[in-house]
Symmetry: C2
Subunit: 733 residues, 2 copies
């Protein structure tokens, strides 16, 4: 009966609709035929198909196992229903790719078993107070994901079923599910949130498969049909104009999945919507932004992030395949090659075939400003690169809070060089899905350490975290990205933060500078604080490597190891060394991999230098032990911290040689003018690198600073003001 | 005039001698012609030649720089003379490979410059009291190395010189150098030591090039000509019958260089000596032994060793090329492929051509016993492997001391699995050639920590190191390798140590056991101590990874971190946790890479379990911070420690799943009979793995042990005594 209704829908609206109203629409029969024909010529596609066959055969051997929903996340029924949706999708695909009817029958029997059970289900028994329950899973999110996957498998086999079987699955399972995920749960469906994206994708794709335009409209425009919610509004509001997603790269990766899957389905069925062109192609920008937010295959670990989350995660594989199909950009192929994976879709086939034909070009990792906020006015991540994929990459974290998964790290930064993490971000304190680690959820130390300001390369005032560690406060106040220049020998990112601490405004400029006398570019850091009363300012630098030389006198705690403080993350730091207060610049040199790094740092008032390591007050061994240097200034109101981080030399343990182990910077100096600062580096070659940074980024304002008797004058927010080596006669021997 | 003398020598004794008495002999003209002709077809050879051209062209651009010797190691004149011998050898080779006379002229001018300077030189001004000085370098060793390299370059260009030029170089430089390195310094030359190997190689190769058989005889047989010293005696005495070299893999790699270079020269000039067949082919065994003493390209870091010393070091590249030329073993090619290097020699050409032809086969990393001592009776390194190159590899250190570079680690072990270091050895405390780290020499912590027993997985008694840390004492007393079985489902290494501590004898069996109910093999450890009085026994396990679960109650030092002890390495350990004494087995689970490891351990008397980390009392940040578990037993005389280390499960951070995070071993039990022990592992499957180990390794003796009411009877040193799962009815739920 419902089948009869469906043919009344305006099927002509869908380009891909078939004459047979049971034929596949998410992937067309012609596309499946092409995959079957051409897939075997593309090794990556073949390997993927073989993997899937192994998984699905294993599931088929276990039979149709559809238990009554009972367990929460991680429990048996939860995991079994997850396995089932993977198997339904996989079996559908394999039926089309191999012609083997056993796959279709398996998917059919699985779906019929669900159709028998679903009408009897009420809210999941393991529901939690603050979550909308699903029917199959403890939270509705997983039900949405179940449907996104299963509908793809069903689409693939629907034309193998009898009308009665189709009616059973359509009416007893899919329509009720789609109704539950939309009309019955408006608080989940009508939202601008990535959980709602899974819901609209599930409902919309079900609409395409059932030829039910009303479902598709709900998915695209929200329950009211007015476009305030739904997929189009989500595209418009969840990404910044540069394709950045507020929670940061780790969660952007997660959010990306349903966007590209549903957009792909829309493109197939309603190409006239030009969904991938919407808002300047923001979905494709989001894929690019995510790749740009990585180094050596791993995402920048800003906010709650696992350090080992790589570009080869399934969502990014999907994103790359879909983006390649849209753009044919050969540089995406080099990412796919690194991923060693493709989807078993027409898009995945395109990628696999292009790779087999050797069409890939290196991905152009470049300096880029990824603005945050739907309008691009809530800060940014600023990425400065030099030397390509495994060269130097600096990422400055000037974004808004990132909701509950955000860290209190405004104006922090990380640095990668020569394939290594050099200046680090702890990421999240979590061992995902490891039962022994609190069941795999975020650990207590995620809050007590990983989110806190002192766990980042960011300014901490009076041993407190920014916004006192309250993310809702943080959400209200983004930083300002004042300046970004990502090309040439002077790259710079400059941002300002007002409101992270009461009465304190601070700004920071991070610059990547090249010079003919230095084999590697150096990073210059200028951080200026304007306070309203005397305070303690701590500026940590978390680094990775073995200390080679401590260039200052310090009391060492070699036989007892005190803890730095009592709260805001300080309780997790052991103190290994502390210096007396001094206004003279100091150095610290470490070795990571085969390269040395010398950090040279000074300040406008005397500071103490502390060498610390994470791991204190960690009863369950949840933390990694990682070193940091903290510059501590007491008693100032306004203050300036300035430093330079210099990669140099080579340590070769195989051939047992070392060269360039000494810094090529002889001196670091700083002066403040009335409205600007100059940082000058004297090189061992005699030349001077100087960088001017004004308070005001305006390109037309003039500035004047005198440093050690030398005048520096420039116009604009920043300027490079180098001096050549003095003539031979003028130099001291 | 001397030239005239030389033709009187019995040149017919040399197979490779040319009619032209200036033609090359170390590599023949025909071989050079083949390299010139065929090298361009072998990509690895081409790349190597291109690298060498770059280096030599750079040296040539700098001109002939032969400074008067002045500086000690690392100083300017030292480094310049090192650069020069590389350049002389390289230029000679390139002249032959390219025909470009500029290379020959450069090598000639360099050698003539040395010939002008050498006769005027006395003992090097930077000589040290306890070292024989060179003329060019502060120690004679470097002079030997200079000549080994330079004579190769000279040989290549000798036929381009005028008789007068040859006479100058022969008589003013080479003969005086050879004389200084032999007759004038008998204490260096007549030695069974790898420094003497460099001297005899230098003198012998000079003999071949100058057609001076007397020099060759000295090199082969020592100054007396009786064979007590010299190269042949060194081959016979410096390696064990299995090709092991006493100091361990790191120094074996270093010692190997002159052996294979000089042996190659002998093979070229006197093939009838069958030098590579001598002593059962011990030089080729030494190359194989070295490769077998590695995991994932890095040498086992026993004794003073850098962890990053790999199979791609130059000495091993030379060794692999020479060994391949002798054996044509295709598995050596896979090592060469990993090395990405070949020598620019006929042997290197063979390797490069074979690789270009795709002839390589995987190297068969296998279980192997590498006996120590010239007669193979001074202990051994026992290597147990399962699962090939990146599978599980256990190496047990039952060797003699290894002279001054030896560590106090008898019956210690390391474990690799799944590409990771799992149970570790610290190696040496040294940053080689890093000026900031004490000039790159061994650090004080090498003695105070790295060599000490507690820094290893070895028994420490009364908080002292074996032999009280005196290597000469250790040299006198090797352990006994009692048993080795390297095949099948039960691999075992069993050794005994008497004399490391007064009145204490201990033995240890380490076994790698496979079982159908376990996806990975497990390691069983049984250590038995027989003391003469009550003592404190500490058994450390140094592991690599993040602690997942501490399976016992322990007091945690979370806010102050005490130091474990005052000497013998204990002063370098922070204490993080300590349990009360108990006789119940305990567990510790950690994660490294993508795999979990559970160590389950017990003892015959109550022990405390300490969790510690290296890094205390380290004022200069010289130590890495690495965790260890120490089992501490107080008040016993005789004692047994038993344990099982189980790799399990998978952590996948990309796909965010975990499986097998729980151990599949339910219980660990142990019983002692009158003359043997049984260790039993009850698996979660219900099956029991049991291993019997007798005190006496004799294969014919019978043993009887009762464990929890079950009798275990076997004949021989060890036996596998598994029981199937009890019938369903008999099992408790």
């Amino acid at each position: 009966m419902l089948m009869a209704c469906m043919v009344l829908l305006p099927a002509a609206a869908y380009a891909a609709s078939a004459s047979d109203d049971a034929a596949p629409v998410l992937v067309t029969p012609a596309e499946y035929a092409a995959m079957k024909r051409e897939g075997p010529q593309a090794p990556l596609f073949v390997a993927e198909q073989r993997n899937l066959e192994r998984t699905v055969r294993k599931a088929m051997a276990a039979g149709i196992v559809v238990p009554l929903p009972k367990d929460p996340g991680g429990g048996y029924t939860h995991e079994q229903h997850k396995r089932n949706y993977m198997a339904i999708q996989g079996a559908g695909t394999l039926y089309r790719l191999t012609g083997d009817r056993a796959y279709a029958d398996y998917a059919r029997d699985m779906l019929l078993a669900y159709a028998r059970m679903y009408p009897k289900l009420g809210p999941h028994p393991a529901q939690r107070d603050n979550q909308i329950p699903g029917r199959l899973f403890w939270q509705i999110l997983n039900d949405s994901v179940w449907l996104v996957y299963s509908i793809q498998g069903y689409d693939a086999i629907r034309d193998t079923l009898t009308p009665a079987q189709r009616a059973t699955i359509d009416n007893d399972l899919l329509r009720p599910m789609a109704r539950y995920l939309s009309d019955d749960t408006p608080k989940n469906f009508d939202q601008i949130h990535n959980h709602a994206t899974w819901a609209v994708a599930a409902v919309g794709m079900t609409g395409y498969v059932l030829r039910d335009h009303a479902l598709v409209d709900k998915a695209l425009l929200g329950l009211s049909g007015k476009g305030q919610y739904g997929f189009l509004a989500q595209i418009d509001q969840l990404f910044s104009p540069d394709g950045y997603y507020e929670e940061g790269p780790y969660y952007q990766r997660y959010a990306l999945g349903p966007f590209v899957i549903f957009a792909g389905a829309i493109q197939h069925n309603e190409p006239k919507r030009k969904i991938f062109q919407r808002r300047g192609g923001v979905l494709l920008k989001a894929v690019d932004a995510l790749i740009q937010s990585s180094y050596d295959g791993y995402l920048f670990p800003f906010n709650d992030s696992l350090l080992d989350k790589g570009l080869d995660s399934e969502e990014i594989v999907t994103g790359v395949d879909v983006a390649y199909a849209q753009t044919q950009a050969p540089e995406l192929l080099s990412i796919a090659k690194w991923q060693k994976r493709v989807m078993l879709t027409p898009e995945g086939l395109q990628v696999a075939r292009a790779l087999a034909a050797g069409k890939e070009r290196p991905f152009a990792f470049r300096s880029i400003l990824l603005r945050d906020g739907a309008n691009g006015d809530r800060g940014a991540i600023a990425v400065l690169r030099s030397g390509g994929e495994r060269g130097l990459a600096l990422a400055m974290k000037n974004t808004s809070q990132g909701m509950g998964h955000g860290h209190f790290d405004r104006l922090s930064w990380v640095l990668y060089d020569h394939g290594e993490r050099v200046v680090t971000d702890y990421g999240s304190a979590r061992f995902i899905n490891v039962e022994a680690k609190q069941g795999g959820i975020y650990l207590p130390e995620n809050t007590s350490w990983a989110k806190q300001t002192v766990a980042h390369n960011a300014l901490a005032v009076n041993e407190r975290s920014q916004f006192d560690g309250e993310w809702r406060k943080g959400e209200a106040t983004p930083p300002q990205q004042l300046l970004f220049a990502g090309e040439g020998d002077t790259q710079i990112a400059f941002a300002r933060m007002d409101g992270a601490y009461p009465g304190v405004v601070f700004d920071r400029a991070l610059a990547v500078l090249k010079h003919a006398d230095l084999p590697q570019p150096v990073v210059v850091d200028l951080l200026r604080v304007h306070g309203s009363k005397v305070a303690r300012y701590d500026l940590p630098l978390h680094f990775n490597g073995q200390i080679m030389a401590v260039g200052f006198d310090a009391t060492r705690h070699v036989a007892d190891r005190p803890v730095l403080g009592g709260k805001a993350g300080y309780q997790h730091l052991w103190v290994d060394a502390e210096s007396a207060a001094s206004a003279d610049p100091r150095t610290l040199t470490w070795l990571i991999g085969t390269r040395f790094y010398t950090y040279r740092f000074g300040a406008s008032a005397p500071t103490r230098a502390l060498l610390v390591e994470s791991g204190a007050n960690d009863p369950d061994f949840n933390l990694r032990h990682e070193p940091a240097l903290i510059q501590r200034m007491d008693g100032a109101t306004d203050a300036t911290f300035f430093g330079v981080l210099e990669p140099h030399g080579e340590y070769n343990g195989t051939a047992e040689y070392v060269h360039g182990a000494d810094s090529r910077i002889q001196a670091l100096r700083h002066a403040r003018g009335s409205d600007a600062d100059v940082i000058a580096l004297t090189l061992t070659s005699g030349a001077t690198i100087a960088l001017g940074v004004a308070d005001d980024p305006s390109p037309t304002r003039k500035h004047h600073v005198v440093l050690d008797g030398t005048s520096y004058d420039w116009t604009g927010g920043h300027a490079r003001l180098d001096r050549a080596a003095p003539a031979q006669g003028g130099r001291k021997p």
